[in-house]
């Protein structure tokens, strides 16, 4: 059996306890092992990508138990893509955390970081709904620790809210899983797909309840209105590299919606008919609106980045709710873009906050390395707002194109275009306040003149720059990326391949 599939889960799972037990007091060793481990994760993800890109679906049976009795890990194009995206993002964020010194401001950053990666990788690779819950919990509990890293009363209270909100989400997840199990008798995703399709009509009400509860849970994770209220406070008060890593966490919610709703509750299923089109689509449009208006209204750069993340989730979910293969291809392209852009915005926000001392969007002294940070902010803002020439523009164009035949296309187009303008205004206002206005000679001269003449650490700039390079690569290689995204979407909308690969027709 192909053991590469479990490697992204096992490697961080082994590395994290090793870091805690052996290198507890040696930060340099922790850094070395953590970075080496994350580089290894990138390599493993590239191997997985090469295996999955051809279109074959690889199944890994844990303990050699056949599905649906045992838990399976499934590698298809979407899982491989998300694993690669996570590994690359994790490496970049780790470099920023090490370079800016965030990892020494509290205890156990690297161990928690590796546990978080274990949870995210497991969530992307699993083929069992309860196993998805378990990996959700692993990634959540690690994120609680990362969220309150380096402490402080505001961060701790924001962390407490984040934890409580997510515990409620986990409880709801269990209710949903209990309902689904009670109706179908299985929790393996492929087996669920088979049993849901042949369910008698008198049980369909309970199944619809389970499907709705599951959608709600994933919407909590993906920060869809009205379940988005946890995100601004949590992401703006988290340590900045942690907030950048959290950019992939909302994508775990989006991935789960895609996985469950293409595989199990497919577009032709009568039981869940209308859930995505009638309910998720308007919610996604409103999420986009809330995100962009929030960008315009934020007084703090952390909250600005958080609302921008909400806005990009709105656009992503608009593409997902259109529920056609073309729209799903656009959604996958946009998902990659939105992760890189949101992470870059959070890292740039950290560069500003570190030098300014607070996170207010207000006129103050000129930052050291002002030009470099300003250009990084400029490109991050262009990417986030969806302006040419970066991949945000291409992504939004693809989403608009894919939804031109959708039922609510007037609202979708109006929403995306108007809210893009709102976001552009918000980002431009923040940028000019932070970077241009300090050139006014009437403002006070920079403080701490002796300290900032020492060389600022270069690694955070390298990290932010590599995210920019990723966005540029996504733009330049948009053709191959879109072909891959379309192939992924085609594979998603043909669930029979997945089901027969997992259940090995006839040998249940």
């Amino acid at each position: 059996m192909n053991h590469w599939i479990i490697a992204p889960v096992v490697l961080p799972a082994v590395l994290a306890p090793l870091i805690i037990m052996v290198m507890r007091f040696h930060l340099d060793l922790q850094r070395i092992f953590s970075i080496a481990g994350t580089v290894a994760l990138v390599i493993i993800s590239l191997v997985l990508m090469s295996q999955a890109a051809g279109g074959t679906i690889h199944v890994y049976e844990l303990g050699d138990w056949p599905a649906p009795f045992g838990i399976v890990l499934v590698l298809d194009r979407l899982s491989a893509l998300m694993c690669l995206l996570t590994a690359v993002l994790a490496l970049v964020v780790l470099l920023h955390a090490v370079g800016s010194g965030w990892d020494e401001r509290g205890w156990h950053f690297h161990a928690l970081f590796q546990f978080q990666l274990m949870g995210v990788m497991g969530a992307f690779l699993t083929g069992d709904a309860f196993n998805l819950f378990v990996f959700f919990e692993v990634l959540l509990i690690a994120s609680y620790g990362l969220m309150i890293h380096s402490g402080g009363p505001v961060r701790l209270r924001a962390g407490l809210q984040y934890v409580i909100y997510n515990l409620l989400g986990s409880t709801l997840f269990l209710f949903a899983l209990g309902t689904l199990y009670a109706v179908t008798g299985t929790l393996n995703m492929a087996d669920l797909a088979v049993r849901v399709a042949e369910l008698p009509d008198d049980q369909s009400a309970l199944l619809r309840v389970g499907a709705v509860l599951l959608l709600l849970v994933f919407c909590v994770k993906a920060a869809v209105l009205p379940l988005h209220f946890w995100l601004p406070s949590a992401y703006s008060n988290a340590p900045a590299p942690v907030a950048a890593l959290f950019a992939i966490m909302t994508k775990v919610g989006a991935y789960s919606i895609i996985r469950m709703y293409t595989l199990v509750f497919g577009p032709d299923l009568a039981v869940t008919d209308g859930l995505i089109g009638t309910w998720l689509m308007p919610a996604a449009i409103l999420t986009l609106a809330v995100g962009c208006i929030g960008v315009l209204g934020s007084r703090r750069i952390g909250r600005l980045a958080a609302f921008a993340a909400i806005g990009s989730m709105g656009t992503l979910l608009i593409a997902i709710s259109a529920f056609t293969a073309e729209a799903m291809g656009a959604a996958i392209y946009y998902m990659v873009h939105s992760t890189l852009a949101a992470a870059m915005l959070f890292l740039v926000a950290d560069l500003v906050i570190e030098r300014r001392g607070n996170d207010h969007i207000a006129c103050d002294f000129r930052l050291p390395q002002n030009g470099l940070i300003a250009s990084l902010y400029f490109t991050a803002a262009i990417a986030m707002a969806g302006m040419p020439p970066l991949s945000g523009f291409l992504g939004k164009l693809l989403v608009l194109d894919a939804t031109r035949d959708a039922a609510m296309w007037v609202w979708i187009w109006a929403g995306i275009l108007i809210m893009s303008l709102v976001m552009i205004v918000g980002l431009a206002r923040a940028g000019s306040t932070l970077f241009w206005k300090p050139f006014d000679p009437s403002l006070s001269a920079p403080q701490e003149n002796g300290e900032d003449s020492a060389a600022a650490p270069a690694l955070p700039f390298v990290a932010t720059g590599s995210l920019l390079a990723g966005l540029v690569a996504l733009t330049v290689l948009a053709g191959p990326s879109m072909r891959f995204a379309d192939a992924t979407a085609a594979q998603l909308f043909d669930p029979q391949n997945y089901i027969s690969a997992v259940l090995k027709e006839g040998t249940e």
Binding site: E137, P153, G178, L187, H360
Partner: protein, 125 residues
Amino acid sequence: MIELELLFASAVGVLTAAGIYLVLQQRTFPVILGLSFLSYAVNVFLFASGRLVQNEPPILTKYAESYTDPLPQALVLTAIVISFGMTAVVVMIALSAWLSARDDRVDMENEDPPAEEDSDAEAQS
């Protein structure tokens, strides 16, 4: 005589209602109690998803004629262990938040204040 299903359903309902009421309180300790009530409710619910039967064991024995579904019971064990860990984490975070801020409110104060009347700028690092 009370039906088993009625007893179970009302237990889940009452526990969930109590849990949600407590979770909406403004101080951390009732919230944590509310989360515990909700986890009791969801564990009972998960247990019931394997159908309510009497005198049927979940694991193989010599003396049983039929068996109940063991999988929900395994799911409940997993869920109990996970929520035990989570409760420990949330208690620790609530305790740290109280020790830091000398206040056990759940609500964030003024999240987005204007720059002039800032009260917690130094909490950023």
